[in-house]
Symmetry: C2
Subunit: 372 residues, 2 copies
Amino acid sequence: MNSPALSLSRRLRQSPFEGRSHHGARAASVYNHVVLPTAYASLEEDYWHLREHVQIWDVACQVQVQIQGPDALRLVEYLTPRDLSKIVPGQCVYAPLIDEQAGIINDPIILCLAPDRYWLSISDSDVLLWVKGLAIGAGFDVEVTDPDVFPLSLQGPKSETLLSRLVKEPLSEVRFFRFIETEIAGIPLVIARTGWSGQGGFELYLDAPSEGERLWDAIVDAGADLDLRPGCPNLIDRIETGLLSFGNDMTLRDNPIEAGLDRFFKMGKAAEYLGQKALEQIAESGPDKRMVRLVVPGAAIANPRGTYAMEVGEAKRSGEVTSITYSPRFNCNVGLGYVPAEASDVGTEVVIHGPDEFVTGQIANNDWGTSG
Amino acid sequence: MNSPALSLSRRLRQSPFEGRSHHGARAASVYNHVVLPTAYASLEEDYWHLREHVQIWDVACQVQVQIQGPDALRLVEYLTPRDLSKIVPGQCVYAPLIDEQAGIINDPIILCLAPDRYWLSISDSDVLLWVKGLAIGAGFDVEVTDPDVFPLSLQGPKSETLLSRLVKEPLSEVRFFRFIETEIAGIPLVIARTGWSGQGGFELYLDAPSEGERLWDAIVDAGADLDLRPGCPNLIDRIETGLLSFGNDMTLRDNPIEAGLDRFFKMGKAAEYLGQKALEQIAESGPDKRMVRLVVPGAAIANPRGTYAMEVGEAKRSGEVTSITYSPRFNCNVGLGYVPAEASDVGTEVVIHGPDEFVTGQIANNDWGTSG
C-alpha cells in the first residue's frame, strides 16, 4: 500500500510551529490530536545528523495537562506509584500513570511549577479526561486544564552550544531533569534539560502560540553555523537508547513492572495511589512478561505496524515484538518486545515471525550485547 | 505546503478492514488512534457517488467504550443531559457527554445491548479514560473497557438493497436508530440503522477482527452490480446535512446549547448528571453564542485548518467559522460556525476573513436558504 497523505482539519490542534516544521516533512503522524512530523531527509540520515549536530523538533503534540489547586500534589501522587513527596519547583520527574489494575495510562514528565501547580507533559492519550474524571469523581480540590503550552525540542550534542547563545542563564547550572523560567528574544519560556533522544538536549515550553514562528526563526538564525536542521523523534535513536513509546511498547494492557519502568519508582511509597494493591500483587508474584531489548542479525526488517509474534527460548514460549528497526551503527536490527518472564535472560534465542520469513535473534543487554 | 504521508506505527490501533480500505485511499487522518481514510477519488466525486449509490466505509475509528455492571445505566445517565430512562435493548441514542462546566467531552451514539450493558460509539476523544476516571473516582459499580469492536458503515441510497441481500432479517423492520444482532456469511454482527451521512444507511459492528477482510469481501461481492465503492465520511455531505463534527464544530470549550445539540435533550431530566447546574444556568440565561449554518457565494474557500474569524451583522460582532466547504449542488460555500447569540438570525450578514480576502455570506436556515 502507498501511504495516503495526511489530511488536516480543525480537529487536529494547531502547533504554533507548523508554519515552519511542516516544510520538508516527508511523513507525519497524529499524536494527542496534533500533527507530529516523523521524517525529514530519511530515518537514517536524520539519525546520523541527530547524533552529530543539533535538531529543532516540533513536539507541540507533547500536550500539557495542568493540575492546579490545594489538592494538586495529592492528586498527582494519586496518579502514579512514583514517590513525588520531595518534588520541588524547577524539577521534572518521569512517572508512569496507572489505572486500578496497574495498567499504564500514560508516561508523562511531570513538571513542578509551584507546590500547587503541575504540568503533565504527556504521551499519546487524553490524560486531561482521565485526571478530570478522577478529580471530579473523587472530589479533589483542583482545576485540571489543557493550557496552550507547546514544547519545542532541541536535541543533539550541539544543543547546549546553540541554546547558550540564546538565553542569558548559564546552562551548565541546569541539571538533567531540571528547568528554568527564562526567555528568548523576549519570549517567555520554560526550558528543561529533557528530551526524547539519547543525544542530550532541551525542551522549550512556549505558552504564547502567536510567538511560535518567531521563536523558531530566532533559534534557526542562531544555529546557522551548527548545521541545525528540523528533525523529530527518531525511531533508530530512541530504540537504541531504550526509550519506550506509549502506545507502541506499552499500553493500558501492560503494567509498569512488565515494561521495566519499575526502575523509576520504589514500591511502598507513603502517599496513596490508584492501583497500589494491584501493583503490589504483581511485584510480589513477579510479572508474567518482561520488556527486553532484541538484536536480530541480517537484513532490515521493515515494520510499519510494529507487532510481530515471536517464539522465545527452547520452549518456544510466545512473545511479541513491539518496536523494531535497523541500526546502521550496529549493522543489525534492534528491537523491543515482551517475552515471558521466565525466558527473559540475556542471550535467549527468539524466532520472530517477520513479514516475509522467520528470523532468529537474541535478547540483548542494555548495551545491545548478548552476554549477561 | 505539500501534505506529508501518514506514517503508521503500532501506536495506531489496527482496523480489521485496513487491508482493504487503505487501497485507493488518497488521504487519511487519525481518529481515536485509528487511521481514518478521508478521500478516495476526490471529495466531490465521492460526494456525488454517495448520494446516488452505496459506499462501504472503514469507520473502525469509531471506537466503542463498553460500560457493564449493576451501575451501568446510572453511570451512562450521569454522563449526559439526555434522558435515557426509557432506553431499551436494541436502541441507539445520540447523546452529548458533558463535563462539570457543561463543556462537550464527546458526542457518542449510545447502544443499549442489555439493561446493564452499553456501548458508547464515540467521536475523537478518549472517552474510555473519562468514564473510567469518573467511575473509579465516584465508586460506580461497573467495568469500563474498550472491547475489540469495529464498525463498518454502508451509506447511500442503495445501502438497504445491498444489505438485504446479506442478512436474513427484513430490514424494513429495523427502524432509524435501532439495531439487530445478526450475521453475514456466518460472522456475528450488530447492525444499526445509523451512520454519519445524510443519505441513509447502516453501521455494522464487528467483534471478530480476524473476520474483517472476509466481511468486507462478502459485502463487496454482493454489491458488484450496485456500483459499490469504498468511501468515507464526506465533508460536503456532512456539512449539508448539518452533522456536527466533534473537534471541529464542538470541543470541550463549547456547550451543547451553544452547539444546538439541545434539540437532542430536554432540560430537567430526573436522573442525576454531571454538569447539570452549569447547563441549567446556561439554559436560563441563554447561551453567548450559537452554532449556525452559513452560505457564502463565490469561489470555493479552501480551508484545511477549519477556523476563520468572521464579523457578524451590522455591529460586526466576532464569530468563528468551524467547518466550510464548497457545495457543488448549491454552487456556493456551505459552512458551520459560531456567532453571537444576539446576532444569529437567519439572513444576518457575515464577513469571513478568508485565506486570501474577506468574503461575505449569510446565516442560513436548515435548508440552506437565507430567509427565516
